[in-house]
Symmetry: C2
Subunit: 419 residues, 2 copies
Amino acid sequence: MTALWQCQGVTSTSTAGAVRQGSLRELNLAVVLRRIAAADRPPSRAGIAAGTGLTRATVSAVVDDLIAGRLVAEAEPAPRTGAGRPARGLVLASDGPAGLGLEVNVDYLAACVVDLTGTVRHHLVRRADLRPVSPADALERLAALAAEARAAAVRDGLTLAGAALAVPGLVDSGGLVRLAPNLGWRDVDVPALLAGHPLAEPVEGIPPLVVDNEANLAALGELHAGPPGSTSFLHITGEIGIGAGIVLDGVLYRGARGWSGEIGHIPVQPQGRPCRCGGQGCLERYAGQEAVLAAAGLAGADLPADTAATRLADLARAGDPATLTALADAGTALGVAVAGVVNLLDLDTVVLGGGYAPLAPWLRPPVVAEISRRVLTAAWSPVTVRPAALGARSAAVGGAASVVRRVVDRPVGWLARSG
Amino acid sequence: MTALWQCQGVTSTSTAGAVRQGSLRELNLAVVLRRIAAADRPPSRAGIAAGTGLTRATVSAVVDDLIAGRLVAEAEPAPRTGAGRPARGLVLASDGPAGLGLEVNVDYLAACVVDLTGTVRHHLVRRADLRPVSPADALERLAALAAEARAAAVRDGLTLAGAALAVPGLVDSGGLVRLAPNLGWRDVDVPALLAGHPLAEPVEGIPPLVVDNEANLAALGELHAGPPGSTSFLHITGEIGIGAGIVLDGVLYRGARGWSGEIGHIPVQPQGRPCRCGGQGCLERYAGQEAVLAAAGLAGADLPADTAATRLADLARAGDPATLTALADAGTALGVAVAGVVNLLDLDTVVLGGGYAPLAPWLRPPVVAEISRRVLTAAWSPVTVRPAALGARSAAVGGAASVVRRVVDRPVGWLARSG
DNA sequence: GCAATTTGTTCAGTGGTTGAATTAAATGAC
DNA sequence: GTCATTTAATTCAACCACTGAACAAATTGC
């Protein structure tokens, strides 16, 4: 078994899409499983056959395989239709494979387990200031938390099919964390440091550990938990830095080298404040956590990172004028940057996540105002701006969901496992 | 036969990827054909088998079908290898299907024919000021030019499998031109107006006419003609408006509604000059043709649109200080916007196209300067900024190439045609 | 001239889909 | 309460396209 450490979603089949004899079944397993996953009510075999164009015979055979592999179960209270033999509804199994989502952040560690149906079965958080901790120690503690989550999953009869770790920084393909400024990490080889701690069962085709940018996985979490229908959106994670996950047509876009989403350094005032990146007038200097805290008169308060947002929200709710102005200005800067992005990418939804989620009531109006002023097509069809459905849990949940999604997209790897 | 007018590349198979018996062959036809198309020297059947993982027997059978359908031919001077029976090289046929690319622009009409190998076989241009002409008349003249191109293609033994029309404006799916400000078009139903003029043979799976934004098709042209390897890039078409085509991982990204690429209205000076879009400080007001001409002291010269760029280039070459300053400023504004885009999308290449292509010697330095100042990852891996390989012909060639690409991606539609 | 080598084809075998017939399980009319 | 009707799911022979091995073809090198 070759360990497959990787960052991106590259499925690099060297055979480049050639369809061999067995691929036929492999592909149809995925088609049927996806159909069951996407349906809003448990579909019948016949319904799947009608929807996909496959024969009922084929669907039956495929479903048999899926049930035998504990990926699908029959919903017992059969959904009533009308005349005729009642259909047996098919649902994703809730006792089969599951995904493990992990997160290392400035002041907490998180681990969560998501099953095939998308339900968050467990969610563990350990608060701790990780800035003074060495990467090796931080990952050691993460591994302990992961083991706890895994034990809980096993008690439920679940099998972890893979893990995904969210890190607030630039991650190389291969899982090398190039730079995580707020953690103080540089060139940390996460897979190597976690090598002694098995996180998940080996499943063919699913990497045992994927390391990815926090903003990317948070966007996946939002894709997973958010309202259906929005398949192209920008998920903005507002923390000390500002990151964005870009989901286009339902798939996360990672960029040529996996470093997309650096929305924090979009220029919003080209001759404005100098930024640590070397540029000038970057969004981060106007809508980043430090800038907002300073404008609200809380500079140097040295709040834990995740309480800064709730503190600002409290002040805003209380009507503190400095805070309200600070949020309005930040929202305007954010709106300018977002308007540019929407003009460029023609997105229909913008999600305010991370620290922006609790501040959405105050950030949303100026963002919406800038969008409607500046986006050419806003008149034809409006852009939705909404807070993240999952809030701070997005990244860990998104990571776990990305594992589950891998199983759904290519179930044959899982089925090959247990014979 | 249902006419399939469409704008986007939506292949909306209602069966959602289900793999039926025959799809096996269908998919492998595409795999093998793509392999032949992508190879830099004519591959052998055995080489394709080794590369794809298919059996030599299967590849032979597939190739037989492709040759019978005039999509592939055997290269006669067989490429020498070493010992063993010499391989028979396979190349794309140059007498099979071809694509028709059309363009309506402010002061010219164009039609071009690209064959399967990607060679531009014919390229016709009619210069004419189309602003005073009604859409119906303009399209009538375009149809005449298209008929000419088609006749030339038929004389070569080619069969036009589809057509793509580039328009400088917002195009709805369905081919409705919502707004083409510089042509003075609004809600022009192009497919309806061209309905009387058959442009191409009906081929299953290929729409007889695709209408798309000029910038999008120009980006496809660049993908087609540019150096291989750059699969994620931004192609900027600088005219009166500024448009961009976004190619991500080798596929054109069109946005949720098909209106992506409005880079001209990215804010570069949020409190700057008011723009006709209603916003303020849009890129177009600093790097658009009118802005540059005005800054160079040529305001109101009323030059034909396509000569403005060459005129500016002449002045710059002659060392005219006003022009040099104007271009430097435009380049800086462009660089600010592009830096934001590159930070967001992690692109490795930026192509200066349209009117920017001849001005690249003067625009490139400030653009590169802003990128290296402002792009976070520029230090790790540089961003290439280069002029468009095709220049003004990009859009028509790109349209024609997009038709050809459709045939390569799904050859079964073409093969079903001639029995 | 002959062994070695590689390409391409032929052919029986097989996996997985197909389509029709069959069985299963309900509703509704009389 | 029985039976025609309706829809769901399964069974089975047929078939299509890929597989693997054997074979024929064409060239190099000794």
